[in-house]
Symmetry: C2
Subunit: 711 residues, 2 copies
Amino acid sequence: MSENDLSTFFNAKKIGIVGASNKFGKVGYDVVHNLSQFGYPGEIIPINPRDKEIQGYKAYKKLADYPGTIDLVFISIPPKYVNPIIDEMGELGIKHVVIITAGYKEVGVEGAQLERELGEKLKKYGIRCIGPNVVGILDAHTPLNGSFASRMPLKGNLGFISQSGALITGILDWSVNEGMGFSKFISVGNKLDIDETDLIEYLGEDDDTHAIMAYLESINKGPQFIDVCRKVSKKKPIVVIKSGASNAGARAASSHTGSLAGTNTAYNAAFEKAGVLRADTIQQLFDSAMAFSSQPLPKGNNVCIITNAGGPGIIATDASEFAGLNLAHMSADTMEELRKILPPAASVYNPIDVLGTGMSKEYDDTMRISLLDENVDMLLIIMTPQGMTEPVKTAQAIIDNHKRHPDKPIAAAYMGGVDLEEGAKLLKENGIPCFTFPERAISSLLGLYLYSEIQKMHLDLETTPVFDVDKERVAEIIESVINKGRVTMLGSEAIAVAEAYGITTPTTETCFTVNEAVKTANKIGYPIVMKITSPDIIHKTDIKGVVIGVKTDEDVKFEFTRMMDAARKFYPESRVIGVDIQAMSNVGREIIMGTSQDPQFGHLIMIGSGGVYANYTKDIQFGLAPLSDREAHKMFAGTKIHKILQGVRGEEPSDINTTVNTLLRISQLVTDFPEILELDINPLFVFDEGKGVSAVDVKITLDKERILRRE
Amino acid sequence: MSENDLSTFFNAKKIGIVGASNKFGKVGYDVVHNLSQFGYPGEIIPINPRDKEIQGYKAYKKLADYPGTIDLVFISIPPKYVNPIIDEMGELGIKHVVIITAGYKEVGVEGAQLERELGEKLKKYGIRCIGPNVVGILDAHTPLNGSFASRMPLKGNLGFISQSGALITGILDWSVNEGMGFSKFISVGNKLDIDETDLIEYLGEDDDTHAIMAYLESINKGPQFIDVCRKVSKKKPIVVIKSGASNAGARAASSHTGSLAGTNTAYNAAFEKAGVLRADTIQQLFDSAMAFSSQPLPKGNNVCIITNAGGPGIIATDASEFAGLNLAHMSADTMEELRKILPPAASVYNPIDVLGTGMSKEYDDTMRISLLDENVDMLLIIMTPQGMTEPVKTAQAIIDNHKRHPDKPIAAAYMGGVDLEEGAKLLKENGIPCFTFPERAISSLLGLYLYSEIQKMHLDLETTPVFDVDKERVAEIIESVINKGRVTMLGSEAIAVAEAYGITTPTTETCFTVNEAVKTANKIGYPIVMKITSPDIIHKTDIKGVVIGVKTDEDVKFEFTRMMDAARKFYPESRVIGVDIQAMSNVGREIIMGTSQDPQFGHLIMIGSGGVYANYTKDIQFGLAPLSDREAHKMFAGTKIHKILQGVRGEEPSDINTTVNTLLRISQLVTDFPEILELDINPLFVFDEGKGVSAVDVKITLDKERILRRE
């Protein structure tokens, strides 16, 4: 049993309940009652200092009084009494606890202190803990209802992890009505020890669980979450609804990447990297769940729609196209067969219209024929209540056809109320996702398709390219900047860092006097570029701090003085102000690249249209370091500028490969040096294919806190 | 009674049913049966050539046999027998018919011919017709169920117009379950006479109807639809789900505007102009409907969320912000009051958390206090099933609070199944929109807010500015182009048209010989711009057909020859090729403006980021001519380039007013000259504030078909 094997929580043979009670209304009453009433097959061991018997079970005053080995303990007593129980557990060698008790960090400073102490004790004894502040855990297979939720889920194969206890009680109540079956409901509460990453890893190995659903408000261990999900998502779909705007976005951000990244950017990038499907609404989460619980994955995105009414067929067509599904092109043979069995007025083109007169036979024949067509990857069956409609018989035909073709997913939209109720119920009972309106049915099929694409990517095997770089040189520059008491690099320093990582840059030197500037300009050779540089000046052009094509000593002198004066005027407090003298680069297409730090997930990387208006055109895509080759290409391909760089309007294509290569080098740089807080290259000039790129302006800021911590 | 007063359809005293039948399963059986069983209070007059009595009503062989005046006729006999009935009606002076019969243009050429003849007869006799190919019409107030749908809607105030008959039967069945009440269901079928525009106008005046819902696959009379909706939407909300990709988008489009406009662009622009809310899904349509049927409009977009669980509160907060609603900032007094009545652990900040222990009293007190806060425009009440939850008593408290504050809309999310069912039912019965998940509740409140904004705009009073322009000059140029057998204007002609409408342009003349070019260049004065011009060359830069800053006679000669050779090589079939000699304009910010024709709605107008990459950056907004001042400003403000033109990064602001003015002049131009098929200005240079604009490149194509029709 590895450290992360959490199976004891769900397979415990002997469960102690600290706080077990005979008093209706107490949580400790509910836990015993639920274990008992929902058929927990192991031993129920109530712990109560006063009562000798709890709900018919022999009670013990203390855990130590029980004459055997308890596997798992539930605790529902006030917080101040919890920590001594953990000590008891530690002494007895009990390694698993679910702490239902609330009143910890969620209520303020005192609770947070208690929780810290609790955490230390858990660590000390090596006790794994779910909670505190949870509804509990439920396993429909064991069965085990260790919670104060008053219902038991139907037995099924969906695992649901929720950071909101109320969502567990709500979804439990709702799911029974919907006929939706679950393997486990797990309330994670304050996630003091066990969190979503641990549970996803565990459910990934759990044979009872075929799909993992989660409601999350935060993610504890970003990088591990991604690693675990990349592995698990190869085997099972993971669908997450993430709520709450991240505070990260609120942090005043000075870089392009920081200010362009919205509060959701990092989570979206993380889910994409992790192979996690993100649901936008609770309904979408469970609509997908319904499909995942019983339907196979489609081979492609071609959907065939069978309907008894034109309008809803069009609605479903719109929804399919909008979602990125494709209306299957039926083969000529299929259409020929359909013509034989359908009335002449029926449409044999997809969406196939069996007409308002269509009875179960027409539906059945149409399904049978369509499912044989290899262009059809999945089916949507739409029914509206018409005079001759046979909702139940048609439902049976859908079920039978699905049995004959278990490799092609089917969903249904039974568009009505009373008239179609019985048929809809039959479908759900037999694992056919059935909805009132076609858009939701399409959304459930879409989930299957999107997951099939994730599975094909083999994220579990994906690697990051490693370039041969001068890591030592960068370490030296960073040391030197820190030693000078700065966190922001001067232009020439940042350029040198880029150079050390194999990114092409024009020669750049920072000068602090006029004479130095003239000398450097002559060494580099005219014409040159002059740029003001200072740790405090972010947008140089705003104070006219960039001059291109300076050609004479006189002009260098003039511009140097002008720039320094302007900078001192606008930034009188700045300790360092100099001028970068840079070799003139040819002008290429302007690209922006950058990185910023997300507190949960580490380095967020950006690429897009560059130039002075990059913040306004917002043609950008994000990813998380370290990037794989596929990820870097995909990010870039998601921008509009990528299309232009491919060569449009008679122009030569630009050097896309070197651009992606540069992005990957940046990814390696910030991964090697996590002390880089923010990095911006704007513009990166991209030249014609094979001609490379030039990073003419590089900004790097170091992470003060991380550096302080290091010292 | 005006020609468009359709009230006879719903208030007819005597209804004839041609095709009335005693045979169960026949549509003519259903119509008589439904009129009868659902309590139609007028006279039911079955027409049947054989039977003397139909379902207990005296039957007549022919309409003429009935000894009184029939107000309205339903027809459900095979199509080939329908037209003679119309003749009979004509002779008898019956002016209203609902033709349920199908088998017209929807089935092919023969049916289309029959439908044309039917249309002519209707016109000849001045008979107003709903259909053919409809389910029928239903009025819950009269009551009148003149349809073959087997259910009657609950009495309510929603009017539903549907181009899909099946959607009527489906929604009818579903709505009864949901407790949703309707005034009228109208199936419009093939819309041979009466269409959505007529019905929206009628329902706009119908006192029983408070909100108009529609499912449309097409719109018959685009401009009238917009006019009518602008008036009606001042009084009542109109919510439309429009399905089906328009064929207009498929037309090969050569202009920027044409190629940039997607299939939905014109419909979106039309709905925006018309003050119509567009629903994306059927569910959204009816979620809004539920709110409109019973809730008032909010004064603003500030929503207060009251919940008994944190997670769902966060989900609702996310949904609100995403939808553009604002979380109300509760006043200090309100929070103080809330602190008094809620437990210390409860959150008095919005979303207000009454905690899992919250009973109906806590909900009631919280609602009472929050509704008094003037920062609160609307309420969302969220309930999850917890141990002490009182779903029914809380529902009653919601209803009571709503009665005390009938000016503030309330929606509820009862997040559960069995446990909350009774409470949810009570809410719906009392007109409180209640959903399982909070996102849908927010969507229903959003509809109310969006409509309140539409109402405030006074679209019914909005006018279009009229500039003093040289209309005659444009008419002359168009005539001259037509006379030369062209539809595409040369650059100089298009520039002259723009000039005549007060749009600033640089002097431009088209030259066909080298000598002419040199002469013109000298007349205009060096430096000049040279551009190839031909009706067949769309993208000049693709063949290097634009040269800027030509300074000498020699250069003019050289470029003229080079350009003409290149053009003749790439466009050997072109009848006309010349070179435009143009005065050099200062370079400004590049804007694109253009127009294209939409077959339904007329001139679609576009504005956005210009330049050679306009087709790739796609920073554009669309509107429909004629534009009001508000519309033109709003379109421009929707682009990213607008933000840049306001002056960013220390730059001067650009001349936004003249840019908008130019857009309005274009709108006037294409409205005055509908024979303009497409117009593109790219780039329009925009200079600093007060310095105006310059339309340096103008393309105009005329509408061949319209010109041919004119001749």
